[in-house]
């Protein structure tokens, strides 16, 4: 397995400060590894890859990887990614966001990116909490979970990201966890190759801000929790008691060309009509 780490090093910016800025046991570094392996598996040139990240812990990923990187404003990563993809469809554009980033402040952009099916891969690191600001509940915090802004337990329901993006029209929706990292590698690589808007939700534990307040003794326990709770989609569907279980795998896979391709086709058609008229 030595190649795993060596491979990562080929894609990191070595003038950046290491170790990673993330807390001990944070899964973000694992997702970063999946992202790099996904890009590598497809043989993409670093120059042709753009990572647009939002604000929050996940936003820090952008600075570490040796691609074209944009650290956007909070929640707006997909808007900038949309502009980049439409301006230059040759680029592979990846939006890396957190749950607060993608589903709360950026929720409107998310559903519209899915609806217009822009050819961007959205990699969402869902840790159920606002980590960087110190542990406030987010739109994916499970009901009843404690945070600094839900000290009596979260009253509001959490978004079901898969159903949300499916309904919004995404070409691909999948969910993985940082415990099931090889499967996550596969999901990321698959999303990167497919046309249109493909979202990968990566469940990644935040022990510092979420785990400590919700009965986990350490980060390892959170990984064990993921191991127990996450079930591959096929197995999940056969379960009699689905409560507390989280399906992982690919949920939506539609072959719809991305907006950038449909736009180029429209321009081409216009030119033909013009040519025909003249």
């Amino acid at each position: 397995m030595a190649e795993v780490t060596q491979l990562i090093h080929q894609y990191l910016r070595h003038n950046k400060k290491f170790p990673l800025v993330f807390c001990p046991g944070c899964g973000h570094g694992i997702v970063l590894g999946s992202l790099v392996r996904g890009v590598h598996a497809l043989g993409l040139d670093k120059d042709d890859v753009v990572v647009v990240a939002g604000i929050g812990c996940s936003g820090r990923i952008a600075a570490y990887v040796d691609f074209n990187t944009v650290h956007a404003t909070h929640g707006r990563a997909l808007t900038i990614a949309t502009g980049i993809k439409m301006a230059n469809p040759e680029l592979t554009v990846i939006a890396v966001m957190g749950d607060g980033d993608a589903f709360s402040i950026g929720g409107n952009h998310l559903i519209h990116a899915a609806r217009r099916n822009i050819g961007v891969t959205a990699l969402v690191l869902n840790n159920f909490i606002y980590g960087m600001t110190g542990g406030q509940c987010s739109s994916t915090t499970p009901e009843g979970a404690y945070s600094h802004t839900s000290p009596m337990g979260q009253l509001e329901a959490a978004f079901d990201i898969v159903e949300l993006t499916r309904a919004a029209g995404a070409a691909g929706v999948s969910r993985g966890t940082v415990f099931h990292v090889k499967a996550l590698d596969g999901l990321v690589a698959d999303a990167l190759t497919r046309p249109g808007f493909n979202l990968v939700e990566a469940l990644t534990p935040c022990f510092t801000q979420y785990g400590r307040g919700n009965g986990f003794k350490n980060a390892v326990e959170m990984f064990k929790w993921l191991k127990e709770r996450a079930v591959p989609l096929e197995a999940y569907e056969k379960l009699e008691d689905k409560s507390g279980r989280i399906p992982i795998g690919t949920f939506v896979r539609r072959d719809v060309p991305g907006l950038e391709a449909r736009y180029a086709a429209m321009r081409e058609k216009l030119r033909e009509m013009k040519g025909g008229a003249a």
Binding site: T5, Q6, H9, F18, G25, G27, G29, G186
Partner: protein
């Protein structure tokens, strides 16, 4: 594969990058790693390593490298299908990411 690759692997933890989260220690099926006095992972039973492929991609800080020793016809690539350890700890590993051939197994570049 697990039995045959036993004793064939070199496990290195970069102390500078390890934050001591304990994930590798908790999930290593052969107890190759243990916490040192500083709380960081250190190698205690290298010979027991079967190169199951868990610790390296699961280390959030890229601080572990497992290298097969002088691989003769065996590249030491983790085999998610064959190794019982891998089957146990990474149940959903239907596919291996494509990886390049390992290079300079004994030389760890630490940027």
């Amino acid at each position: 594969m697990s039995a045959s690759s036993k004793g064939q692997n070199r496990v290195v933890v970069y102390p500078d990058w390890c934050k001591g989260c304990g994930i590798c220690i908790a999930f290593c099926p052969k107890h190759v790693l243990a916490a040192g006095p500083d709380g960081k992972a250190r190698v205690v039973a290298e010979d027991a390593c079967v190169n199951c492929g868990f610790c390296e991609p699961h280390c959030p800080d890229f601080a572990i490298v497992v290298t097969p020793r002088a691989a003769n016809g065996r590249n030491g690539r983790a085999n998610g299908n064959g190794a019982p350890a891998a089957g146990q700890d990474a149940p959903e590993s239907p596919e291996q990411p494509q990886q390049p051939a390992p290079k300079e197994p004994d030389k760890e570049e630490h940027p």
